[in-house]
Symmetry: C2
């Protein structure tokens, strides 16, 4: 499959293109993008080649067009309906994060199990009980669940999200989320509700480790 | 310099090695690591080559030894003293995150400016006022500041951290942190307190975009 590193680079190219657009720079090239991204021009061309021919050979790329194509490839030209599961400190920080809505990640629902939290309003949305999740996901065509519960509750909450019908789970808990398995005709198989669910993990620890690395190796920054 | 993607891959290899160790698997190879990391064996060897010869040609690597070397390269075999600046929702979520202390990122201090927060105790540590930061950083040999303040306050708080003498800033605010510049002999130069400071950014948005991408392109997962 496509390496995760390619996706990260595509996100980097997109950020660079947005920066160029903000400065009214309308043309770029694989060399220019490569320099700004800290990779080789060969890598840039290889990454973009997965998704089609964007530029004119030898002529570079038009910034708004390449940006639009990358946004399409990265699913950013459509609205994603998101619920946050777990409205403790992290869940509330996520709900209040301004960066998230520019890219059409719309928080449509907030969920928890604790009576201290359920019923409160955060950014204009009521925090509902997890019992309401399946019906809510169906009615509001929810695409993704952001999982911000404690690690020992993460698998249960993930099961509830998969059972409710989300297409993806962004997991912030420091634990591995497993799909529910079934035995069919003597074989272990992924259960139906998990079959099409993508799980992606988020971890600050990676950022902390990068910082430590660059403090020790500033010449490599 | 070394590409950021290389650091991310090194962190991935380390996570894989930890996973192998937990299962009592003591040998690995560039092919094995490559397969688990979703990259080529060539890439694995290239990444490790930056830091020395770890394995025996044709014989692969010993898991605990390679893990120890990667931890050294990534600065994980030493303790890092960390302060969190901004003890709102995100700052508190960070302070309570269990994953952070395994790797010897020790939270030694918590700082804020708001009277609602200063004086409270979080995980056994008192939240101090920013006025105490310079003295605290000096006395406690603080290496890093985690910046979890609102975007319009981030530059000021970063300036306070640099002025106090930290070696690195992990920035969670959705804004670009700039070093303070001076004019010397008619030239623009980085100010002394910023000269050796590394700034690294953390953003959930990258994880959200990755999830969107894989939902649209499951065959590339
Ligand atoms: N990814 C990262 O880098 C990172 C950073 C900080 C925290 N975290 C993790 O995020 C999680 C939340 O941290 P926090 O500080 O906000 O914890 P918290 O205790 O403040 O909040 C957790 C919330 O989840 C709710 N909850 C528990 N079980 C639930 C369930 N089955 N369904 C719905 N809600 C449920 C609780 O009632 C609570 O309100 C933890 O797993 C923590 O380790 C991750
Ligand atoms: N990186 C990410 O993915 C991500 C995710 C969520 C939130 N965020 C960002 O994290 C930041 C904090 O979010 P939050 O929800 O915790 O906000 P918050 O308002 O709950 O907390 C911010 C805290 O910073 C304090 N503060 C303000 N100026 C300060 C200064 N100069 N020095 C010290 N403390 C100061 C405030 O008193 C407050 O307690 C925001 O910038 C937000 O956009 C980032």
């Amino acid at each position: 499959g496509i390496p995760t590193a390619t996706i990260s680079r595509l996100v980097t190219y997109l950020r660079i293109l947005e920066g160029l657009e903000v400065q009214d720079i309308l043309r770029t090239s694989s060399n220019d993008l490569a320099e700004r991204a800290g990779v080789t021009a060969f890598q840039v061309r290889k990454d973009l080649a997965y998704f089609g021919r964007f530029g004119t050979r030898g002529m570079g790329y038009t910034v708004p067009i390449l940006k639009r194509e990358l946004m399409r490839v990265l699913g950013l030209n459509q609205t994603w309906n998101v619920v946050i599961v777990g409205m403790g400190r992290l869940g509330q920080a996520i709900a209040n994060y301004p960066g998230a809505s520019d890219y059409q990640f719309q928080y449509v629902g907030l969920f928890d199990v604790s009576p201290d939290v359920v019923g409160r309003t955060v950014r204009g949305l009521p925090v509902r009980h997890m019992d309401e999740l399946p019906e809510f996901v169906r009615r509001n065509k929810v695409d993704m669940g952001f999982l911000a519960v404690p690690p020992d509750h993460a698998q249960d909450a993930a099961q509830a999200l998969a059972g409710a019908g989300v297409r993806g789970i962004l997991n912030f808990a420091p634990t591995v989320i497993q799909p529910r398995m079934l035995e069919r005709a003597g074989q272990q198989e992924i259960s139906d509700e998990w079959r099409a669910v993508i799980v992606e993990n988020v971890d600050f620890l990676a950022g902390m480790k990068r910082l430590a690395f660059y403090i020790l190796n500033p010449h490599l920054n």
